[in-house]
Symmetry: D3
Subunit: 246 residues, 6 copies
């Protein structure tokens, strides 16, 4: 089984981090194919970056499907371009926020997502609502820049810990989802420290992709996810015409 | 007052149709500036087309704002790229689906949207849910290709009428929203025929834009709509880096 | 275009304040006709006052419609008698709470209403729910008597400011709606001070009324807003029989 | 125990019908005091009639409370003026729609309300939503004038039966609430015929009033139901000033 | 009228406490028959105890119905086995949480449940949601062991009081429901102290049972509450085969 | 990895059918341990059977966990005793309805569950609501006895097909979940026939169990799923005292 792990931003080092997290949980026989978008923002912070990340993501997805991968993961916690990706591809496509929520719902009645930047909170809250988890999942932001997690001199990890503590105290949360692909390596340590399940979305998405491929199901194409209608695309994005891309 | 009317698909004739609808209701002193996206699909049918239409839309929006327009309208019923547009611009940005629902809510307790193609139904249903109108607004599709509305030999208008009749009978609807910019010229005739308010989104959006400009309010930039963070954009979309575009 | 601005309480000075707010934003050519109810409470604080304010409001509305106005605004933040008014009249009738929520939804994902007295909080919360905005709009009360806003020796404005500050900190609010017609003159100052959009319902209602009249739409009379059935009315309210009033 | 049964319309014969239904189920020792509003419409059909029925209802309620009754029932299925009545009185006030829904919820997972006129359907649907029963209770109208139920030559009863049959087939309903005080005498016969519980709101309200009085609880006055603030009332409604009425 | 009051745990002294509360409010002529489950846990704290308490509860219910009682109450605040009980019996079966919420909704717009142990909070929150009261009822736990309420040396009552005070301050609550059968004797005292209605579920359930019996309605058996299908039961629970039990 | 597949009814042949479905999709290295409850009903049809099936299910679960299995599946579509099972065990416990909904949500925006008997429809609808899928998942019953699926002379399969056809036409469904463990062998054939994904809950549960074990997560025990408090259990169910069972 081959699973494409598509980083929708254009920073290859972030792809590597996500690929590490993916490989740690992948089953024997599952091959993780990390792919980095070739066009768009170097990181995704808010709606504008997200919108501009979609074309590059779709291009990687189309190429990966042609290449015969069995499923694809979108490795950004805002589930960038998920609907468009499902319309484009026939293979299953998994968002990491969606996968984390679905997975955590099997082990906890209430849980909280702790993300990095404040401006990502509302978009993630919209996802939680869309996935039907509003009554069991709150969203918090630790207000830390993503990159600062790597920087030992910053107090980023302390702020993350403080926000997790608040979630456990104030939200009835029995489990924590880390709302950023870049936090995956902290999972085990935080789980030990707080003695509650601490969940990483990339890992969940790998297992959900394996599940769908194992079941032999693919995206239902009957309605909103029907394949794109063939038609001309113009200008800079000419190459995205469905007949060209698929 | 100058209002940019941005057609997010790349077909100029559709821009003209929307501009006609806009000018019919614009107040004295309101100038409608019709703009057609220069890149992306020639029409928007489903999530894939929608995603690829966003960059072209944002480019027109950035240029229009630099040029000093007071507000902008996104002239496609799926409210293409609305969140990204609001993050990018400081001027008010109005979606035509959103404007139609907000406006109709002042005159009817229940109403239905009748759109063209079946595959657009679920995305519009998601918009209705997001705008908080699920309990008062149903969405129907007449299953007609957009362009067939122009073709006198097709039975498109009969199917549209039949679907409106069903909405009035089965949905408790007291008013009808036409869920496609290309239907704007039918408004008056259908209103006469069915003796209920028949609403066009482009017209509503013009009046909502005039309202916001008249009130002197602009998009709240404190949180999810904060201006894009300056950062490099790569590859084909390099030109969309916030410092380049804005 | 002539818009009736009906104050449903019987205090003419409050009508004047609302009329000032209305005229500040009215378009050239829009005439604001301020009307004060001739029967009922001198101010509306809670459900009892509200119920007794409705007959006087309806009487002004009937007279204004006969007189040929194009639309009517109910100038009290509890949207007093809105359903009955829409059943009675064919012209559009706008509530100021409803107008403020619809308008603010175009520029902010989350916002809060700050009203004066605690006992008004729950009724407004019910309106927010009815208008489909529960997930994006919280309601707060500054616990100040309406009239104290005018009194320089009271600390009313400080309490209002304190409550706005809490809304911005605790509610994810990116914009503030002032939940009382008597606060309209504070809009600009508070907007400067807090650097977020601060919205007044009367102003929004004027623009929404202009929008509906400009579109040529009127209340849909097919169902719950059908014209009152002709029938005898008895006792003190005899004069309200539909054949007498309309 | 004395329970005021207030008919908010001004037709005494309807009060008699409701009083019969009430007495059939009243416990030994419960005295039903039927009261007919002295001002307003002769029947309540839609929002306009409802609004004009409230003052007369409140006047009867105030007099009954002064007179020492233990609880009051509002005998119209749109729960006319319920919030204002609860703010005015300290004794428990029960709406018959509210009572029917609360009572039926103890014996059926899903049920439907069958009312008379189409224009009453949406207002009742709003009540169902407010009482938290939207997911278990549908509302249907048999489209019959209230008075025709008394007329043996009309087909009103057949239409009522047909609508009940549809509710049982199409709504998953396991019980039926008759959505009009004037249908109370049909309960037993319809129950026999359809072999499901058929519920009358007046009867339910009597038992709920007995329950509240038996428990010794009264309306909570801390917030939205706080007693009306003393203040002048003007014009025709001068007599409704709280200090005059209470 | 005879009402079975079934304590689903196996501790007879708790049955006595509930029976006292029931008898305090029972109407003249209502006989309370207290019954204690003969199998299962000595107290119900969480989902596991609850599940194991159901068979014993059902056995008492079947015997009571054979014996001719008119209605039954399940005297535990998690409404233990309510659906199974309604499927088994034809007489009305009332849960005390359900009864408390239905009753309190007639006298307060918002209220809070204060229960004992933290682990009971989420199950009660699910009940509140199921009964349609989520928007008007919050659930709090005082984090006290049930039995400590009886112990004068513990600070249990102080913690209960503190939690009630928080509910009144932070939840908009105008009334309090005590979320544990063992608190019934505190009702009057707390009501005096906090000057708001303080409600006990057992008392409410008695009055609701009287109401249903007085109306002559029984559980609707058409669908989810249809009588159990006759079939073999095996092993330890052989005696629960419907033909054996009913 | 060893996964206990617990049939909560006492009919071993049904366990075999579920075990076949489970083994068809289990990964290499996953061992399925089929277990049949030793006490309770031979099949689960409605709330009464469900309640009596829980003790036997919990006994198998406790034994399996002691025996060292890694996860457990409850192989009945009403997710029998799921909350009690999660409180009892530390290993992940998966319901097949829950697993089917979570899995299908990754590949279809809307889908329908088609179950066998009408009386199971409402309980499944409650599960759908609890899992947050009400807006995307409808529940239908083909009104066929479970065992008739095995009988070639019955028209059970035709009725199942007819109900699936209705779901695709009337519910916007793009995928079908078969709402009964006994239908698992029909999946492939129906998928071919209707050309939409047809999903079996047992298969989904196996993959979700593998996912959770692969991730190393276990049930969060902090709150509603905390381990049962040690206490005496009496009578027939004495053996279920937590200290005896766990």
């Amino acid at each position: 089984m081959r699973i494409a792990l598509i980083n929708p931003n254009t920073t290859a080092s972030m792809t590597d981090t996500a690929a590490d997290a993916a490989r740690r949980v992948a089953a024997t026989g599952t091959v993780i194919l990390p792919l980095t978008s070739k066009m768009g923002p170097v990181s995704i912070e808010g709606y504008y970056d997200e919108a501009l990340a979609v074309p590059g993501l779709l291009m990687e997805l189309a190429a990966a499907e042609k290449d015969g991968v069995d499923a694809a993961i979108i490795a950004c916690f805002d589930d960038t371009g998920l609907d468009a990706a499902r319309a484009l591809a026939a293979i299953p496509v998994i968002g990491i926020c969606e996968a984390a929520i679905a997975t955590t719902s099997f082990i906890a009645q209430k849980f909280s997502i702790v993300t990095t930047m404040g401006r990502s909170r509302l978009p993630i809250e919209h996802l939680v609502h869309r996935y039907g988890a509003s009554s069991r999942c709150k969203v918090r932001a630790a207000d830390i820049p993503v990159l600062s997690l790597e920087d030992p001199s910053s107090n980023a990890r302390e702020r993350l810990r403080a926000e997790i503590a608040k979630a456990l105290e104030q939200d009835d949360a029995d489990a924590i989802i880390l709302g950023c692909a870049g936090m995956a390596d902290l999972t085990e340590q935080l789980c030990q420290e707080f003695q509650v399940p601490v969940i990483d979305g990339v890992a969940c998405a790998v297992k959900q992709a394996e599940a769908l491929v194992g079941l032999g199901v693919r995206t239902a194409k009957g309605n909103a996810y029907a394949a794109p209608v063939r038609k001309p695309y113009k200008g800079l994005l000419e190459g995205f015409a469905p007949e060209a891309l698929c």
